[in-house]
């Protein structure tokens, strides 16, 4: 596999020149070329290089591009995590993508939306695995995913109040007559 | 058609193979596994045969570092509360009273010679909450808090799962607190209060300590 060595080596090398970051730079350059200002500059941290999608509406197009461009081929979405950014007043998702079995490179993409009533385009049609991840992000943070096929809570009960992983979450007093905080 | 007969043939042979295996085990049922512990050199020489151990009478020995019931050797405890802070499930409750100067000798030293500076009227471990992760014992500076090999300690009441290790009775604690107050009044400079919260002290003071 392509990235067989870089994880183990990156501890010895200086972080900036780790192959993971180098690969991410190349990827970012291709995306930047196509989408210009819709994406932010690459954050070249050694542990998880990422870029942010500044134009939230462009996320679906970028996702498709990431998946289908022959130089990128990010066919595998390893993870999609919801995130709360209370300082910026935003919610977001972090996607860890990987080109499995083809190029072997990885990159992380962040997409943010407004804290109240924020909508992020759903990529469940690009990577089917995103369907449940997005449901989980909605369940925990409350942002909705536009054109998601099945936007429901997944882990919490349907009638649970609030979104538990938001930093300002207050747990409800009772649930169907059961006292919640114990 | 040939596949039809091949299926039948392989069906019959694999079924017979499987039956052979179970029959071998059936006739092997005259042997029984011993109850040697894993640290025994002969462990894998005694595992043939029926593996059931009839629990209360035959027990797999728990290894030396087995992490089961939490125990606090209160004589060695210096009341530093590190375990309370480290516990992920908050199952330890501790209350300390600073030892007055003239009581230091009474309070004594730990087994490795460290002067104890706190009375510990309350050291309660709720073993119903404890998940035996062992983090508390790894942070304990005097190694007085440790998990024992006792793994079977079920109780009929949840109350009984709370183990009390405190070294003062309620009355004694009251007396010590008063003494500390007096010392503080006598001393010229103000000292930070060692939180004299009037918490309810459980009735049975050194209750279910190891046994």
């Amino acid at each position: 596999m392509d990235n067989e060595s870089h994880m183990s080596e990156h501890q010895e090398e200086t972080p900036a020149s780790s192959p993971q970051v180098e690969a991410a730079k190349t990827v970012w350059a291709i995306v930047r070329e196509k989408f210009a200002d819709a994406v932010s500059p690459l954050d070249e941290n050694p542990s998880m290089p990422f870029f942010e999608v500044l134009d939230t509406d462009a996320w679906l197009d970028i996702a498709l591009f990431l998946r289908d461009n022959p130089k990128l081929r990010f066919n595998y979405m390893a993870c999609l995590s919801g995130m709360d950014y209370p300082d910026e007043g935003k919610l977001g998702i972090v996607c860890n993508l990987e080109s499995l079995g083809e190029h072997g490179h990885t990159i992380a993409v962040k997409v943010k939306c407004a804290r109240d009533g924020g909508v992020i385009p759903s990529v469940a049609r690009v990577w089917k695995t995103a369907e449940w991840h997005e449901r989980e992000a909605y369940d925990m943070y409350g942002m909705t995913f536009g054109s998601h096929p099945d936007m429901r809570r997944i882990l919490c009960p349907e009638d649970w109040e609030g979104f538990p992983l938001r930093k300002d979450y207050q747990v409800q007093e009772s649930y169907h007559g059961i006292r919640v905080p114990y | 058609m040939s596949e039809y007969f091949r299926d039948i043939a392989s069906g019959v042979t694999t079924v017979l193979t499987g039956m052979g295996i179970t029959l071998r085990h059936f006739f092997n049922a005259v042997k029984r596994k011993g109850d040697a512990g894993i640290d025994d050199d002969n462990y894998f020489r005694q595992v043939d045969g029926l593996v059931t151990l009839q629990y209360p009478r035959e027990v797999i020995p728990t290894p030396e570092i087995g992490r089961y019931r939490l125990y606090n050797d209160i004589d060695d405890c210096i009341g530093c509360s590190q375990c309370v802070r480290a516990c992920p499930v908050e199952c330890i409750e501790i209350e300390t009273i600073k030892v007055t100067k003239d009581d230091l000798a009474v309070c004594g030293k730990t087994s490795d010679g460290q002067q104890k500076r706190f009375w510990i009227p309350v050291f309660d471990i709720d073993l119903a909450k404890c998940m035996t992760c062992g983090i508390c014992s790894s942070v304990c500076p005097t190694d007085c808090l440790y998990h024992t090999q006792v793994s079977d300690f079920s109780e009929f009441s949840r109350e009984n799962m709370i183990y009390h290790f405190g070294n003062l009775t309620k009355l004694e604690a009251e007396a010590k607190r008063k003494k500390l107050e007096e010392e503080k009044k006598a001393a010229p400079k103000p000292k930070p209060k060692p939180k004299p919260k009037p918490k309810p002290v459980p009735k049975a003071a050194p209750g279910g300590a190891e046994g």
């Binding site: 596999m1 067989e4 060595s5 994880m7 183990s8 501890q11 941290n45 050694p46 542990s47 998880m48 066919n75 595998y76 979405m77 390893a78 993870c79 995590s81 919801g82 995130m83 709360d84 860890n96 499995l100 079995g101 072997g104 992380a108 990577w127 089917k128 695995t129 449940w132 989980e136 925990m140 997944i154 882990l155 919490c156 538990p164 992983l165 | 392989s10 069906g11 694999t14 193979t17 499987g18 295996i21 512990g37 894993i38 640290d39 462990y43 894998f44 593996v51 728990t62 290894p63 570092i65 087995g66 992490r67 480290a86 516990c87 992920p88 998940m131 035996t132 992760c133 983090i135 790894s138």
Partner: protein
């Protein structure tokens, strides 16, 4: 009576009546029935609920409902310091706690950028491979139960017992070890552990062969699993499958090789993928076979590690464990190969606190199960059971 095209679908008959109007008759109309499989059902491996729309024995679609075992791992993690999260990680995938700890340790260590002693790495690999064997034994055993064979299950548990004894000896607990800590392990191997592990490998090899003869090669078992729950490789990747599930679809992808974490690059092992001779690539049988073959590879890895492990002289397993874990501000996605696939941790640190700002667990079963809806379409109920079993779910990890 003139029969039109619709009639071929079964229950509809279209007949022109006297006035040449077309009347649609319904005879023996077959209604769909909603069948709740779970949350208490013997073969949902815990508290999973599948809402099946069935037409007779045929499942039109099965929709999984999760959350019955939701224990708020991510919320807990935000309120607990880094070493305190490890016991919670144990309880996510309780069948492979060592592997889960390993993944978490990798993620945090990546954030901390600390050097791990070489012996510790070998110890971690040995215990997690032992746990992988134990976990696969449960997977195979419960799969046998799902298909109605009870005896292989107990044989699996009999052998797993020895692994649990071994791991209890080294860590002090039988299932939820809290052994692999950030920066090290909690105890050094006890005296004689390496020999006993070697003896276990020798003991287990013939048992694995017996298991294969009793279960895997059994014609009924093959007939029940071959060609059931087919998943082509590209769809599997798109669904984010990983681990034995993905390899069952013929993709040679193993994080131990791909990421090459710990000492795995130094070890010689194969990534088993089905060759399509005994099973159809991508079916339930392939996934079962991959698990069975992986046990063999794990035994090889354990043997090599026992040979290569540095001597214990002057060794402190806790030497590299930081007194207080307060990583630099940053974020990391660390992952490891769990018995069920890729277990990843996305951890965000603000650089000030000893508690993570965010700790998301990318659970392998959660992702693997998300394909259930597609896999279940048009299957019989017994096949549905066979498919769930082949996914090898642990609800503790799915619901977290």
């Amino acid at each position: 009576m003139q029969e039109l095209g619709l009639a071929e679908q079964g229950s509809l008959r279209v007949t022109p009546d006297g006035e040449n109007r077309i009347v649609i008759e319904k005879d023996l109309s077959s209604e769909e029935m909603i069948l709740n499989m779970g949350p208490q059902h013997p073969s949902t491996h815990g508290v999973l609920r599948l809402e099946c729309r069935t037409d007779g024995e045929v499942v039109v679609e099965a929709e999984p409902y999760l959350g019955y075992l939701h224990r708020c791992f991510e919320k807990h993690a935000e309120m607990t310091d880094y070493p305190g999260i490890v016991p919670y990680v144990d309880r996510m995938d309780y069948l492979a706690a060592m592997n889960s700890d390993f993944a978490y340790a990798i993620a945090v260590e990546k954030l901390l950028d600390i050097e791990i002693p070489r012996r510790v790495e070998f110890m971690r690999v040995i215990v997690s491979e032992l746990n992988r064997v134990a976990s696969h034994l449960v997977a195979i055993g419960t799969y046998a139960i799902d298909l109605g064979a009870f005896t292989p299950f107990l044989f699996c548990f009999r052998d797993r017992e020895h692994i649990m004894n071994l791991l209890e000896w080294v860590s002090g607990a039988r299932m939820l070890y809290n052994y692999i800590l950030v920066g090290g392990v909690s105890h050094d191997f006890p005296k004689g552990f390496s020999e006993r592990t070697g003896e276990f490998v020798d003991y287990f090899r013939p048992k694995a062969v017996e298991l294969q003869k009793l279960l895997t090669e059994n014609e009924i078992f093959v007939k029940r699993t071959k060609g059931i729950g087919m998943m082509p490789a590209d769809v599997a990747i798109n669904y984010g499958w990983s681990g034995p599930m993905l390899r069952g679809s013929g993709v040679e992808w193993d994080l131990r090789r791909a990421d090459g974490y710990s000492v795995y690059p130094e070890l010689d092992f194969e990534i088993p993928v089905p060759d399509g001779r005994f099973s159809d690539i991508g079916d339930s049988l392939s996934r079962h076979l991959v698990r069975a073959m992986e046990m063999e590879q794990s035994l090889n890895i354990i043997e090599q590690c026992l040979d290569k492990m540095p001597s214990p002289e002057g060794f402190d397993p806790r030497a590299a464990i930081p007194k207080r874990i307060r990583p630099r501000a940053g974020e990391v996605y660390g992952r490891a190969e769990n018995p069920r696939g890729e277990l990843g941790f996305y951890i965000v640190s603000d650089g000030k606190s000893t508690k993570p700002l965010r700790c998301k667990a990318r659970s392998s079963c959660f992702v693997n199960l998300s394909a259930m809806k597609e896999l279940s379409q048009g299957q019989l109920i017994p096949d549905l059971v066979a498919i769930i079993g082949s996914i090898d779910i642990v609800l503790g990890e799915i619901d977290r």
